[in-house]
Symmetry: C2
């Protein structure tokens, strides 16, 4: 049996407790249990679904001190951030509970009969939704609560009426196991099948592959690297029965800053956003497109000095640290010039900033790859049109931020390019920080996600796990047996 | 340059006029013109979009006699059906025009700022949609109006703000060319770019492949065979930037008939549905699951006699006729016993009916493959549970019809299985006939479609071509430049 170990980012050492990689038989058992729970949960109504989600939120909060301490030991993300993330995760569970109570998973389009011949006439019809079935949920490393065991994917899938089988992230195995045990207690207390929230773990690719290949898995949700996500997405398509794969992958989140907005305050704010959580955010601003103005040099000076004052904490894993170093080298090898580059400390990376012309940025695809960590790349654009061209070259990003862009300075050009490229377009602030709310769109064109028409955060995340069905000429008994 | 010829189904002969297969340069030119039109059309508001769709509907109607005669010569579907289909196509264009006037493509979720810290607090946000971009539209052979040049895919894509490049079906080349010429006249009269409705044609796979591979194509819509659809779907996934592929493929549309519903009237109705349009409907009832009752033998006798009275017209192409013969042989080779099998006439096939036990149907995947044409397969089920198992073995179908199923006879079992398998569940009538309306769901789990969460008919077809974008902290000028 394969084993793996937790990693302590602060000490740079592996833990001593072995974690067993789930065997093929264990993966199968978890999926079979989920498949057995699927018809039960699909026909469970709004009240019971909401009660489960609310109890899961309460269980997280009740175990807060223990969970946050575990998370901090395994991720080094720090207690303030982790407490906030636990709050957000509980909020998210309750928000989906609220959507259940409002009847969102059971919404229907009622289409009464229209007498007469086709095409205008038709029988009575109603369009509602059914849950897809067991969801493979791939946890992320960088949000050990909000995008992990009881994170947004689990909450939205359960709200939609789907069991989940969680592939825990090996970056926080003890936290994952403990969080899952809490979920099991809640299921038990509510008399719900244990298989409704399944759990597998492993540090190799084999466990995740076995999960996505399992015939009883009906959909997959993934948050993580572009490489890992695309590999699993390809598996999902290669199955005898392909399944929807909702992959939220990497993004470089360009921030356009027009001359009027090149202020000290924005430079300070960007320095904080670039280094927040050691840059380990999918919405980290990896590219800053500047249109040259009289204050551009001062803005860059301020950004440099603000960045060197930042003290990033250690990265989540040694592999991420190595990838960050490689990413910096890749930028420098493809025409970028360093603006901030300091000797790293033993555990934590130092912030990195480089610059390049828009022409080079557009010409070199390697400069448009994500560098996961506390760095950003300044892109100097000669015109609004060139800035828009740089955006379009990126192709897909979770966010684009537009600062100082107005209708008097070709703002329309930047707006159209931003909307063509991103799932979310910001006109103030920084892209880090993703509100769990009705209008959120945490997605974006390929390669930011594998399913650009969906979101993994916000109310619409629920719809990912539903499929429409039209009932035509349905008798009354049907409406009595369907859940509400 | 490759050429191809129309086919006259009544005479079984090819036409004399050569049609030129679009060259790679012509495919590129059509897509480039669509890409150039895309930003113009994306920012065009509801009134102009509706005006285009309504003018296209009027143009079809104004040219009715000419178009229907052309269609009949190339398809042999008959004037009554083709007139009705033209009516439906015009209705569909006007329905999407109506959705534009109601502002459906521009609908937004308004999410005002909530003061306070996260997770509850957030900035002002609004979630709206943007068009995907140029859509490759693959026309079907069996609906020369409704699923062809100006059919539902074109109507819904244009309503969503996307240009289309039509891959015409070689089964009705003169009709396709004439319909497209009408569309060009309408675009010209409205001062819209010709590239908004592009056109390519060919009888080989090369043209369709070049289209789906083109980097400027943003999505594809397809109605046709499972084999052809899956081949194009794979291409869509294999692109450097994969694109959404909305494929509506084959389906066998099982009809469950419980003893209480095994009436002469239903037998007659089914015989008509099986042979309607020579069985060339994606919703043709290819499987009839019977639960044994005292009237089952009489029902089968009546179905047999009703079927032999039908006079199917010739099939659309010689290839379809050959595939129909092969499909019958496949069923007979895998355990089915013929109930109705007559010598075919020179041009038109005769109806075919066979029977098999549910156990054999479940064991033999070949029996669950679509046989496109005027045939159906009786499946004898020993229990409601076995009938449900037979349904689940089908995996995916556009429709399931339930006759005589009530809450007193394990109806819940059949209902759950039907909803798990189909996009539309009927409780009366026959599956042929697909209303263009608000609650329609013309889709279903794989392999009925490549995108089971979408529909190709009905109001929701429009949403296939939109992608959500969240605008955060947007200033007022943004709302003034976005289309409404």
């Amino acid at each position: 049996m394969s084993t793996f170990y937790a990693y302590n980012p602060r000490s740079g050492t592996a833990g001593t407790e072995p974690f067993n990689e789930s065997s093929p038989a264990e993966v199968d058992a978890a999926v079979q249990a989920a498949a057995a729970a699927a018809p039960i949960w699909a026909t469970t109504g709004s009240t019971a679904r909401a009660a489960l989600l609310e109890a899961l939120a309460a269980a997280l909060e009740a175990a807060r001190d223990e969970l946050v301490a575990l998370a901090d030991r395994e991720t080094a993300l720090g207690l303030p951030r982790l407490n906030g993330e636990l709050d957000r995760t509980a909020f998210q569970l309750r928000r989906f509970a609220g959507l259940c109570r409002e009847g969102v998973p059971f919404e229907a389009v009622d289409d009464p009969a229209v007498p007469g011949a086709p095409p205008a006439g038709h029988p009575p019809m109603r369009r509602l939704s059914v849950p897809l079935g067991p969801v493979a949920m791939y946890a992320a490393s960088n949000f050990p609560f909000a995008f992990s065991v009881l994170g947004g994917d689990t909450a939205s899938a359960l709200a939609a009426g789907c069991p989940v089988v969680i592939k825990a992230h090996p970056g926080h195995p003890a936290l994952s196991r403990r969080t899952w045990a809490l979920a099991q207690s809640v299921l038990d207390a509510q008399g719900l099948p244990a298989g409704l929230v399944g759990f597998v773990q492993g540090a190799s690719a084999a466990v995740g592959l076995a999960l996505v290949r399992h015939p009883a898995i009906a959909a997959a949700a993934f948050t993580g690297s572009t490489r890992g996500g695309i590999a699993l997405w390809k598996e999902a398509q290669a199955r005898p029965v392909p399944i929807p794969f909702f992959g939220e992958l990497g993004a470089i989140n360009p921030v356009l800053v027009w001359p009027g907005a090149q202020t000290d305050a924005l430079a300070d704010s960007l320095a904080g956003s670039i280094t927040l959580g050691c840059g380990q955010f999918c919405t980290n601003p990896g590219v800053i497109v500047l249109l040259q103005g009289t204050g551009t040099n001062a803005f860059l000076d301020r950004l440099r000095s603000a960045l060197v004052q930042q003290q990033p904490h250690p990265m989540l894993t040694a592999g991420m640290r190595e990838a960050f170093v490689s990413g910096i080298q890749r930028q420098l090898a493809h025409g970028a010039t360093a603006l901030v580059q300091e000797a790293d400390t033993a555990q934590a990376p130092r912030p990195f900033l480089a610059e390049v012309t828009a022409a080079t940025f557009i010409a070199e695809p390697e400069l448009r790859e994500e560098v996961f960590g506390p760095s950003s790349l300044i892109v100097h654009a000669g015109s609004a049109a060139e800035a828009a061209e740089a955006l379009r070259a990126i192709g897909g990003s979770l966010t684009v931020t537009l600062h100082g862009v107005t209708d008097d300075n070709e703002g329309h050009t930047a707006l159209q390019a931003a909307m063509a490229v991103a799932g979310r377009v910001l006109f103030a602030g920084v892209p880090t920080g993703v509100a769990v709310t009705a209008a959120q769109q945490h997605g974006g064109p390929w390669p930011a996600t594998t399913a650009p028409q969906t979101t993994s955060v916000g109310d619409a995340a629920l719809a990912r796990f539903l499929r429409p069905v039209c009932l035509q000429d349905a008798p009354d008994w049907v409406w009595k047996v369907l859940p509400t």
